[in-house]
């Protein structure tokens, strides 16, 4: 999740420290509806996953992205 928070901070254009797994969509000025969709697409590209249409509205907190982030081999 740490890796994802750092990644999300980069996408949203905010300091890493401002984000926790509980940070919610809409709670930051930077995280608006357009940025939300960008975060979805960027997450898919970064983690090589696909987030179904029906699941997008369920992504309210950063922690909700957990099933779609599968950190790459870092050994």
């Amino acid at each position: 999740m740490d890796d994802f928070l750092e990644f999300a901070a980069g996408v949203l254009g905010v300091q890493r420290g401002t984000l926790t797994p509980q940070t919610e969509y809409g709670s930051l000025a930077e995280w608006d509806s357009v940025m939300h969709l960008r975060l979805v697409m960027e997450t898919e590209a970064r983690y090589g996953t696909s987030i179904p249409l029906a699941a997008v509205p369920q992504l309210r907190k950063l922690a909700d992205f957990a099933p779609y982030i599968n950190p790459k081999d870092n050994s």
Binding site: G13, S33, V34, M35, L37, R38, M41, E42, A45, G48, P52, L53, V56, K72, D73, N74, S75
Partner: protein, 473 residues
């Protein structure tokens, strides 16, 4: 730059990107808002007074709108990327989920392609030189790997280039291959009867293993033209990014994902860059005048930005001990790789599996990703820790030029040291094709014994090595 973003889909994604890149952006949202704002002289669009307009129309012809905008905004360059053409040339262009969620049907790749096309068209100053890569651009395949006879020429693309040459566009060949000796693959490939282009069609030929930016500078000097008169075409995004970073005044358009569209792509290039070729001598004189100053700047930029550039690539190299799952890929690389291959020993899957499972041997894999995406397993090294000896060192030619080999070498040295072993030898068997590996060895701080450059072992390992990619943490 002041950019207005207009069109018939949600455009906020583009506006976000442009703002992040430091541009001032005006966004007209709402159905047909662009038309209303263009017609109303008191609109926000007119107050903003854009220098450039990006006009994105999906599923509709942009011509009428482009004319209207150009007429109403005489101070702006109006550029309408051809969405339908880009969709044909870019895989994974559409994202139907986004159409439903955001009234915007583009994937991230599409957004990037449209933005690249916008800046590419915006920069459409007249050019005189078409610098062409060979492998993957002029033909399907890699001549040093597949053989000059086995590659399949992109006939329509080559004919298009030939037609440009006949109109006075100078062609330059920039290829990473062995130099064009009589028996070299590059010479043989261009001698084929079914190859529309021949080596003689190029005003300047630069075929070696050096960076293409430096070779292009040298070619421009010999042609007495500035680098700003060049359009550089390469199917490899890494080479394109390197050219952009080192010679920012060279036009570097994106290349279609599917080479089937490359002839059509060349026609669009023609319209954007070469439509006025041969029209005036003044163009040529102006290019020569700017050349000296421009090249100094370019050279300075070249030497100063290599580290920054590698940093900006966000290159990560992940080392791991090989597992059974890696065996097919390892055998495939052993069978195919010629250039960066220490000994060119062709090991099959059974032999590779035995090595992976042999407790007395070490097989490391190196996976790489960068800002362009995941490259996968592109390098492996096999070592015998008791002897402190590397027996196999193989890297895909796709991965060359990113200093991955240094990362791999250092990793192996560290891992052997952890086991109490010192790396002392690298097996090397020179072939007609593994010149890149030989050049690497020359730069390694080893001293060598034996009958160089025949099969030798290299002894002694000391000193530091040049810049290496940062491992991911």
């Amino acid at each position: 730059m002041k950019i207005a973003v207009l069109g018939n889909v949600t455009l906020d994604f583009f506006a976000q990107d442009f703002r992040r890149a430091g541009h001032a952006v005006y966004l007209a949202s709402g159905f047909d808002a662009w038309r209303q704002e263009a017609l109303d002289a008191n609109s926000g669009l007119h107050s903003f007074a854009p220098e450039a307009v990006m006009f994105v129309m999906e599923g509709e012809d942009a011509k009428e709108g482009t004319s209207l905008l150009a007429a109403r905004l005489p101070g702006a360059r109006v550029v309408a990327p051809d969405v339908a053409a880009l969709a044909r040339e870019t895989s994974g262009f559409w994202d139907e989920r986004m159409r439903q969620l955001a009234a915007m049907p583009f994937s991230l790749r599409a957004i990037k392609a449209i933005e690249d096309e916008f800046f590419f068209l915006l920069d459409g100053a007249p050019k005189k030189v078409l610098a062409l890569d060979a492998d993957g651009t002029l033909w399907n395949g890699i001549i040093s790997e597949d053989g000059a006879d086995a590659v399949e020429p992109y006939v329509d693309f080559q004919r298009g280039a030939l037609a440009l040459r006949e109109r006075g566009v100078l062609l330059v060949l920039l290829s990473k291959n062995d130099p064009p000796a009589p028996d070299a693959p590059i010479t043989q490939a261009f001698a084929r009867e079914d190859m529309p282009l021949s080596l003689e069609d190029f005003s300047d030929v630069r075929v070696d293993w050096r960076p293409k930016a430096g070779n292009l500078l040298a070619a421009c000097r010999s042609l007495n033209l500035g680098v700003d008169s060049v359009v550089f075409i390469d199917d490899n995004p890494f080479e394109r990014a390197q050219m952009k970073a080192h010679l920012p005044r060279v036009a570097v358009p994106p290349f279609p994902d599917d080479p089937a569209h490359s002839a059509q792509f060349l026609r669009r290039l023609d319209a954007a860059y070469f439509s006025s070729v041969g029209a005036t001598e003044e163009d040529r004189a102006r290019a020569a005048m700017y050349r000296a100053e421009g090249e100094r700047r370019d050279l300075a930029a070249t030497s100063a930005t290599l580290d920054d550039y590698l940093e900006s690539l966000k290159l990560t190299c992940r080392a791991a001990r090989a597992t059974e799952a890696d065996v097919p890929r390892l055998a495939q690389m052993a069978g195919k790789t010629n250039q960066f291959n220490a000994t060119t020993i062709r090991r099959g899957e059974d032999e590779m599996r035995a090595l992976v499972n042999d407790p007395s041997r070490r097989v490391w894999t190196f996976r790489v990703n960068d800002a362009f995406g995941e490259m996968g397993l592109v390098c492996y090294v096999i070592a015998d820790p008791r002897e402190g000896r590397i027996t196999d060192f193989v890297m895909s030619c796709r991965a060359m030029g990113r200093t991955i080999e240094w990362f791999a070498l250092n990793h192996v040295r560290r891992e052997l040291a952890r086991e109490g072993s010192l790396l002392r030898e690298i097996d090397f068997a020179p072939t007609a094709k593994n010149g890149p590996f030989r050049e690497f060895l020359f730069r390694v701080d080893f001293s060598h014994v034996g009958d160089w450059p025949t099969h030798v072992k290299m002894w002694g390992c000391a000193g530091t090595v040049p810049v290496e990619p940062k491992p991911s943490t």
